[in-house]
């Protein structure tokens, strides 16, 4: 690597206001600029990112590390900077963390798709996606500091080492703080790429695997943390939209002049699927929204009834035309034909809604000439780091600035940009005044984008001894990977495996929902395993031990969960335990829950939940536990209560009265999480807890009552039906 490019003179590297920005890293700015032959392009990048890179050091020793990921409660604001600080050997008491700019060519990860750097906080991918990047960049920052000290002291760099926040000459024990080095910073001729062996010895880790309080918590506890909904700008207006309860239905407004005559109402903005209102105050906008007289047209979902479609889906599953084949190993049909015992069971799941506590919102401002835009938004980012705004407005990407804020929950909903474009569309109408668009909770529920409804037909074959010889899984549902993720059972030693997806389309808006297809698919797969075990009078944990025999890492989670839950000892009276194993985002987990059921009301109570996971290297253990706890609690709510229903195309729910989520009186007494020690790269944990819940509860219920639960959610009514069946 040749750094003697005139375009990147030392001065330009070091030029910032009030500090020094080190442009470092494999995915940092430096190599890009070096490879950029266009000097003007380099200048442009420098101008645009005067203060931006992975780290900024001030003369007072303050270090600012930039977090490229969204913070939605999963802890990225702490965990990614901690990885960087580990290799940089930073003094954590001097570290501040800030969101990086939303510029994917600098801050993206190529773990989403090769040769394409993307900023996207989804799929529990960010720790995995940035682990190497943050380590390299941190190590290179440390190298630059050591190189600069070597030049300053005129000693070989080999004599130098670092302690937290300072460079040390090991020969004479002379020390200089990182801040004190700022005036002497020089760029080395080339920046080394550090091999695994050259990076820090895990024995010396001060951050990775060590709990540190999350940096975002104090401001979240003080009420000062800024979410997009909290943004206030001078001259700001308010926007709301009325959308149909049939997704995509067109609006015809009948009282435009009446609405425009209301106090404070400035503008009505038609959208393909609704009517936007811009007003001086939020309460004026909301009052006007209630007075709109709209008739709604028909749309794709018209006539659709979500509780009546399963019969038709069952017929599709029985039909001869195969769907998209996802897995086909061995000869499933032959296995089923030659089985000494075969099984065929249908599982179902209704739609569920994200219910992130902060309703969707955005503050948007479009330039007076319509050629630029700024938005303040809580987003999970996306393959377009400018969130679709350049295309929407027909302007260049560099004219769009995204100010990322904390997310009041994401769970997949905030990886969609519908609300961002709505806000931009409103702001364009009143440019250059900014507009704060707020979705009411009712908007958020009824115009949600749900986890798809599916029917899943599972078939399995076994020999006379109960050994499973074939496993077949057919999903009928809408949404591609939204319904297919998690259908794989690679870890199970079964010779004949088959999985396919048969598409239906109902016109209902759909989106990734925490753990995506894993929730419904693992529910079906893991319940099927228990139904087979029950038929052969096998212990479900013992059967899984056989199935996982060739997957030692998976097996270790099973054994750990068995021991921590005291699986083989019986539960107290009227209680029972259920078990499930799964892989999500590369993390392997076994979960066990203990439940009871009130047979007069049909209410299931979860008393304890144990989980054991192998998530590779753990960055922040307590935060991983928090993610597992939260994922499991969200799972319990979704499994026992949550249900979006559609009647004649219309969403039937509108707020937390008819879409109930878990409340505190329904939490278990304990959720215990064990993490298996590993030196494998870190994998995702944000979505590992949630999909364990449905199968573990249903399996506990099967053991307790002898009755299967095969339709999510397990509402009291469905539980009573199962008990009486």
């Amino acid at each position: 690597m040749d750094l003697n490019n005139k375009a990147v003179s030392r001065r330009e590297f070091l030029k910032t206001s009030g500090g020094v920005a080190l442009f470092i890293g494999i995915s940092g700015l430096l190599p890009q600029m070096i490879s950029c032959k266009n000097n003007k392009g380099v200048q442009k990048i420098l101008e645009k990112h005067e203060l931006t890179a992975w780290v900024k050091i001030s003369e007072d020793g303050q270090v600012t590390i930039y977090n490229p990921a969204a913070e939605m409660g999963q802890g990225s604001m702490t965990s990614l900077p901690a990885i960087f600080a580990e290799e940089m050997d930073a003094d954590w008491s001097m570290v501040n963390v800030a969101f990086s700019p939303q510029e994917s060519e600098i801050y993206g990860s190529d773990k989403w798709s090769a040769n394409n750097k993307v900023m996207l906080t989804a799929g529990s991918m960010i720790t995995y996606g940035y682990y190497s990047i943050m380590r390299q960049a941190g190590a290179q920052a440390r190298y630059i500091l050591m190189h600069s000290a070597a030049e300053h002291w005129k000693v070989p760099i080999g004599d130098l080492n670092t302690a937290p926040g300072e460079v040390i000459n090991e020969r004479d024990n002379k020390r200089i703080g990182y801040g004190d080095l700022v005036p002497y910073l020089t760029m080395p001729v080339s920046l080394p790429e550090f091999s695994e062996a050259e990076l820090k010895d895990p024995k010396n880790y001060r951050f990775i695997g060590v709990d540190r309080p999350r940096v975002d918590i104090p401001e979240k506890v003080a009420g000062t943390a800024k979410f997009a909904i909290d943004i206030q700008l001078p001259d700001m207006l308010y926007g709301v939209l009325e959308r149909g309860t049939i997704h995509g239905a067109r609006a015809t407004l009948h009282n435009e002049s009446e609405i425009l005559g209301l106090k404070g109402v400035l503008k009505l903005v038609p959208f393909d699927y609704g009517i936007g209102i811009i007003a001086e105050t939020l309460e004026q906008a909301l009052a006007a929204k209630k007075l709109l007289k709209i008739t709604w047209g028909e749309a794709g979902a018209t006539g659709f009834n979500s509780q009546e479609c399963y019969e038709a889906y069952g017929k599709i599953a029985s039909g001869k035309s195969a769907g998209k084949v996802i897995t086909n190993e061995g000869d499933i049909e032959n296995a089923l034909k030659s089985a000494s015992k075969s099984f065929s069971i249908d599982y179902k799941n209704d739609y569920v809604y994200h219910a992130q506590m902060e309703p969707l919102n955005v503050v948007a401002q479009v330039g007076a000439d319509g050629k630029s835009a700024e938005v303040w938004v809580g987003t999970q980012q996306g393959f377009d780091s400018k969130l679709g705004i350049p295309d929407y407005l027909g302007i260049p990407a560099e004219n769009v600035k995204i100010h990322l804020q904390y997310l009041g929950g994401g769970f997949g909903r905030r990886s969609m940009t519908d609300f961002v474009l709505e806000g931009t569309g409103l702001a364009r109408e009143v440019a250059p005044r900014p507009v704060k668009l707020i979705w009411t909770r009712e908007d958020d529920v009824s115009y949600g984008a749900y986890r798809p409804l599916t029917l899943q037909r599972l078939r399995a074959s076994a020999d006379a001894s109960g050994k499973i010889t074939g496993f077949s899984h057919c999903i009928v549902g809408d949404g591609g990977n939204l319904v297919a993720s998690g259908i794989g059972i690679d870890y199970y030693d079964i010779p004949n495996k088959y999985a396919e997806w048969r598409e239906v389309s109902e016109g209902i808006r759909l989106k990734h929902w925490r753990s995506v297809g894993h929730g419904p698919n693992k529910f079906a797969i893991e319940c099927m395993i228990d139904e087979i075990a029950t038929y052969f009078k096998q212990d479900p944990a013992d059967l899984r031990r056989i199935l996982l025999a060739k997957s030692p890492r998976a097996l270790a989670t099973l054994e750990k969960a068995i021991s921590m839950s005291d699986w083989y000892s019986s539960s107290p009276d009227n209680r029972s335990k259920g078990i499930a194993f799964l892989e999500r985002s590369g993390t392997l987990s076994t979960g066990v829950c203990e439940i009871s059921v009130d047979i007069s009301t049909g209410k299931i109570s979860v008393h304890h939940f144990w989980s054991a996971s192998d998530a590779g290297i753990i960055i922040q253990p307590d935060n991983v536990k928090a993610q597992m706890e939260g994922g499991i609690l969200m799972g319990i709510g979704s499994v026992l209560k949550e249900q979006i229903t559609i009647v004649n195309g219309q969403v039937q729910q509108s707020n937390f009265n008819d879409y109930e989520i878990l409340r505190m009186t329904d939490i278990p007494d304990s959720v215990e999480t064990a993490l298996i020690e590993s030196r494998e790269p870190p994998r995702g944990v944000g979505e590992s807890g949630t999909p364990l819940v449905a199968c573990a509860i249903a399996n506990a219920f099967l053991k307790l009552t002898g009755k299967p639960l095969r339709h999510l959610p397990f509402t009291p009514e469905r539980v009573l039906n199962a008990l009486n069946s």
């Binding site: 939605m72 409660g73 999963q74 802890g75 309080p213 999350r214 975002d216 918590i217 104090p218 401001e219 979240k220 506890v221 003080a222 009420g223 000062t224 943390a225 800024k226 979410f227 909904i229 909290d230 206030q232 308010y238 105050t281 939020l282 309460e283 004026q284 219910a355 992130q356 506590m357 902060e358 309703p359 904390y406 997310l407 009041g408 929950g409 994401g410 769970f411 707020i438 009411t440 909770r441 009712e442 307590d622 935060n623 928090a626 993610q627 706890e629 939260g630 994922g631 609690l633 969200m634 707020n655 937390f656 009265n657 989520i661 409340r663 505190m664 009186t665 939490i667 278990p668 304990s670």
Partner: protein, 157 residues
């Protein structure tokens, strides 16, 4: 439109709004006290919990016309000078928040609980906090934080 005088966090604010405007929108959009959050608008989630004369109330369900200027309103911003109320400190110690959006409301509700019942049982905590939703599922840590806060307050007095 009507003019109102409100005592919020021991400071008098004057606002001129329509009579049915709720305290929530006045706090957030008129006065910039955005620590109090909008979650449901119909007193189902507790994100907007504030204290009115020491009692936990849902700001989204309180029209301004119902207030008189002698009532003392406390929001999360008025709970402590530097975010160091014993309940806030316990929240940090328990590392309770995840996304954090509901936590102002949770903390205000918890402070009211401990005001009424300085040494609550787990069941009393759950019952008192049942109107405050958290989608991230931080309930177990909230219970722990309240127990820690109760200890802190007990050792202080």
């Amino acid at each position: 439109m009507a003019a109102y005088s409100l005592n919020i966090n021991n400071k008098i604010y004057q606002v001129d709004v329509e009579e049915d405007t709720t305290l929530l929108w006045v706090l957030r959009e008129h006065l910039g006290l955005t620590g109090t959050k909008y979650g449901c608008g119909v007193a189902l989630c507790g994100s907007c919990t504030v204290h009115v004369d020491g009692n936990p109330m849902r700001a989204c369900a309180l029209p301004l016309s119902g207030f008189d200027k002698n009532q003392k309103i406390t929001t999360i911003e008025g709970l402590s000078e530097n975010g160091d109320h014993p309940v806030q400190k316990a929240w940090i110690e328990a590392q309770a928040p995840q996304c954090g959006y509901c936590q102002s409301g949770q903390i205000m509700q918890a402070v009211a609980l401990l005001g009424e019942n300085p040494n609550p049982t787990k069941e009393e905590i759950k019952a008192y906090m049942n109107g405050n939703l958290c989608r991230c599922g931080t309930y177990l840590r909230i219970v722990k934080a309240i127990e820690l806060a109760a200890e802190k307050i007990a050792t202080k007095t």
